[in-house]
Symmetry: C2
Subunit: 701 residues, 2 copies
Amino acid sequence: MPKPILVLILLFTIISFTDAQPEMQTPPQLNLMPLPQNVRAGSGQLVITQSFSVGFAGNKDLRLQAAAGRFLQHLSRQTGMLLNMGPTDGTSATLVIAAEHAGKDYPELGEDESYDLQVSPSGARITAPTTLGAMHALQTFLQLVQPSPAGFAVPAVVIHDQPRFPWRGLMLDVARRFEPMSAVKRAVDGMEAVKLNVLHLHLSDDQGFRVESKAFPKLQEKGSDGLYYTQDDIHDLITYAADRGIRVVPEFDIPGHSISWFVGYPELASAPGPYQIERTWGVHNPAMDPTRESTYKFLDKFVEEMAGLFPDRYFHIGGDEVNGKQWDANPKIQEFMREHSIKNNSDLQAYFNSHLEKIVGKHHKIMIGWDEILRPDMPKTIMIQSWRGQASLAQAAKQGYRGILSSGYYLDLMQPAFMHYEVDPLSGDAARLSPEEQQRILGGEACLWSEYVSPENFDSRLWPRAAVVAERLWSAPSVRDMDSMYRRLAFINTWLEWLGNTQVSSYYLMLHRLAGQDNMAPLKVLADVVEPVKDYTREDLAATPATSLSPLNRLVDAVPPESEQGRLFAELVGQVVAGKATPATYAQLHAELTQWRGNDARLQPLLQRSFLLKEVAPLSHSLSLCADTGLQALDYLGRGQRAPSAWAAQQMTMLQQALKPGHAQLLLMVAAPVESLVRASAGTPVANAHRGKRFEAEGEK
Amino acid sequence: MPKPILVLILLFTIISFTDAQPEMQTPPQLNLMPLPQNVRAGSGQLVITQSFSVGFAGNKDLRLQAAAGRFLQHLSRQTGMLLNMGPTDGTSATLVIAAEHAGKDYPELGEDESYDLQVSPSGARITAPTTLGAMHALQTFLQLVQPSPAGFAVPAVVIHDQPRFPWRGLMLDVARRFEPMSAVKRAVDGMEAVKLNVLHLHLSDDQGFRVESKAFPKLQEKGSDGLYYTQDDIHDLITYAADRGIRVVPEFDIPGHSISWFVGYPELASAPGPYQIERTWGVHNPAMDPTRESTYKFLDKFVEEMAGLFPDRYFHIGGDEVNGKQWDANPKIQEFMREHSIKNNSDLQAYFNSHLEKIVGKHHKIMIGWDEILRPDMPKTIMIQSWRGQASLAQAAKQGYRGILSSGYYLDLMQPAFMHYEVDPLSGDAARLSPEEQQRILGGEACLWSEYVSPENFDSRLWPRAAVVAERLWSAPSVRDMDSMYRRLAFINTWLEWLGNTQVSSYYLMLHRLAGQDNMAPLKVLADVVEPVKDYTREDLAATPATSLSPLNRLVDAVPPESEQGRLFAELVGQVVAGKATPATYAQLHAELTQWRGNDARLQPLLQRSFLLKEVAPLSHSLSLCADTGLQALDYLGRGQRAPSAWAAQQMTMLQQALKPGHAQLLLMVAAPVESLVRASAGTPVANAHRGKRFEAEGEK
């Protein structure tokens, strides 16, 4: 797993949300995500009654019919009304779909995905060049349905829409920890809803080989603990995804990250073995032997089989993080390098990649890999997925290579939604490219690496944050209003639960597990205001190193990556600090702080009874201390009285302590806003706590 | 659907929960439901680690192995720990299962279901005569797992357990409204958890015929709107249920309640037709023609086919609610009756049943039907399911017939759990039967009739209340402590969600639907303290009569049948009224009432924006009024000052209004406890509001 080196800068600045968006005429209350390119509000609304029907005015290929059927099921579920599930013939239907062509059975990169959606009080019409656009329009329609005084309704609106980028992906690491196919399909359902169109499966890594090979069955038999997808599963998934306009790109990470291959086939490795499935995380030494002909013979046959299984034109070979230690230690490899004038390990990997590229090409696929595969001598057809950032991507584009961005989109780093939202594939160095070079940047992919992802918290690690990456890759770059984004994100989060995702419901169940037979209310009070630590600090803070067998049943595994309550609290505090708070704001802050202040006493008995909760006892104590301080500061502010500086200094010391995550690997999101209150009450220069403390990733150092 | 005639009596009495239970040595914090017959607490606990294993010391038939596999999966899910899923050989496992015999592949009525479970700090052992008992023991074990300071653990305990009744059923009406097989299977999962052992499917009624017949395909083709189970679905369900120790009894309700049959086969009816699927509820006129030989030929072939499809020995023919109007209006039938000296319609139905019983017997099944089928001339082999009550059941037992109770167990009547809990098959007239006669009462069935049940609220109509019926039918009659029951019920409710049921998660989604894009918090405040109206008053209060096509998307469809918050509020008020309240109780009541008082202002804008919520506006207003009154009364009480009688009288008038359900078909559960507060504050004799107002079903009038 490529890990960006992040420079964390605490920025105490006011974030601007005032970007003018003159071209957007979005009515403020449309809960669309991603926002369409062009929205014009009409007057009136289309009421959805039980006689609602769908009809086809143009092409009606099977995929479109299936999409219309799913649409009706969703609409029925969403409204609770039984609807006539059959399509109505002709143009008398409430919603008429006029798609000119069927489009490809299996979606292709760059296909026209545009659509027009017109809704008037008397009906709705979708116009699209192909089924792909029509399917997007159906998702837009569903997001527009809301209860109104007259019934469920869609506001009258004219939408013209098309994606900004053709490659809008989601990478799932199902290798480190396996996810059952049901979870992957839920993810696909969510992808369809937010118009993502590439599912990238990281299918092999040191910790597991996750797809059935018939040519080399020991790959899954020895390398997966029995946790792998059969070829039937894959066929089924590909059809499922294609039906939703989504491509499936497989990744087999080589020549490093491949211990799971060596358990069954040690002869592929650069040291004799034997090998066992790796349980720890990180960069490990084993790597394929790039000097032996037999390696390429194996890969030829393997790629042939997988190229047949996955219809997509793109084939991801990983290629990241080879530390070269096995190569250094193998005299034969060293001799081979001398013979062939290969100067270093990087050149040796290039030699490997160049052979691999020919194999991939022979089987009619285009090779894609992480930044490391980029070498000047590689053919311009290959594609780069950048975990290093816009600069690396821009460099590739300058050299004529196409690429996609994943730096800044790593969902497993537990960053808040706004941070991912701010990352644009065409910003930074990429902004200075020529239009032709910019064309080579095809989009990006949200990535979910799975060290700390179980089937249970899979959905909450993915959603709703993947939706903001989807918006960044679909919508205009000027769509940047954070308040609008967060408002719509809350809506999409519920919508994703309607679609079967479980990020909210699992949270409750995981808290119930932690609380056992006790009333979980005080636990939820604490859980609602903490977040998992960010980036890779979870590993640094671990009491004992985690492995792929570690249970993921702690509070840090249960809580969402971003605390909504913490965010809203920080916003209210921002109003107080800015002198813009109303009495209602003061009252609300007072009520929240009072609840938090008393929570530790209520929670402590429970913390003592459960081994899983002992570690959060200091955090719970901190919450009460912070809340007490916050109430005092609020009191000073409310009375317009300056807080004594000695008091403030004392509180700051406590708050600095509260800001530190402990072994529980959790951050208390209340601490930073309370710090702002204390500063404000003491008349000290105040950092704005609008979004709490802000971390900014700078990509490559 | 047989509907008991209920006499509702408002009882303002203190309910006693003090029944001595000397034989129960249950440690107070075991969250078992149903409670075992005998529990002896040991010392220490068995800690569940990742090396936990299951082994077999006796029989290990396939069903037991599958049960052990599911057990490990549940345990893994419950603890969040990856466990070794394979069974350990021999007796070295953490949990050793010693089941003497495999038991029947398909469960039979009266099979030995007993088990012993011994847990010590070093391991656990299950001993059971058959697999059936061992499977029950596994469920008991799972319910005992809790987080402890040392890890997940099961307390050391010795349990001997066996059911009180052999027939512990759940009847699902999948005819009036269809439930997808996934919902039925979720129900089976829940049944297994609470040790219910008969799934009774009401497969046909006026509104639908829900199973594929190959002999008479027009039954499902014309009679189901396409919503039916294929024979493959049924095979699959039977295996699924049998694997969990659960029998599947089919019911085809004839000769009335059979319009859906007549859509495809009008010749079966007593009037020529044509017929359409019935959409309205109630007792309808059409009935099979009992005078024609062709009717019995049809039924012979039909029963033969269904007898082959369903392996259970029992075959339910319904037989309820024939109003005889079609018979009265048909001259040929009238002539037939004269010729055969059949005096009235009741005798004509007996004539039909007697023929039917021979057909059922011919295909090696035992006939079961509702009270109406009981006639002195029927053979003693038939079985009665009583919707009329213990008196009817006792009468049947006296006459030598076996029977089961469903009166008092109708979950669709939206009664609180304690009401079902209080109903005992061997109480009332049945208590006065001889031991031999009592033996004929085999148990009971919870029934879920589906007029107001959609796939979405199916789980919340079923759970957790079905679990208290399960306890009544399994546990000793002396197990009657309501506080213990409610405490354990809350736990089982969460446990059922772990098993995939959705009664909690669906509630949130349905509230989100009602609230649309708005913050749903104030809606939830109201929703948490209301309950759907009870018994059949929903129909009486309907603005327009509901049909099988009516959307079930209103607040009344979303809220649980019993308000937990309302119940807890009433308990606190009970403490105040009894003069036993602590300052903390006063503070909590004050906080709740304050929130409720302010809620209407917060909620009203939302109510005005959604057509689905307009109807609850008066209710929301009432909540605030009640809360305001409650705060005033609390104030008087807190100050030890008597409230002026004029004030009290005024409040009582308002409260009487608040107690009335309107078109929203919802009851405000706060009103009655506030009434108690007002009475107490004014020094008026106070009814105890401990469980709110209490309705008592009296069975037959």
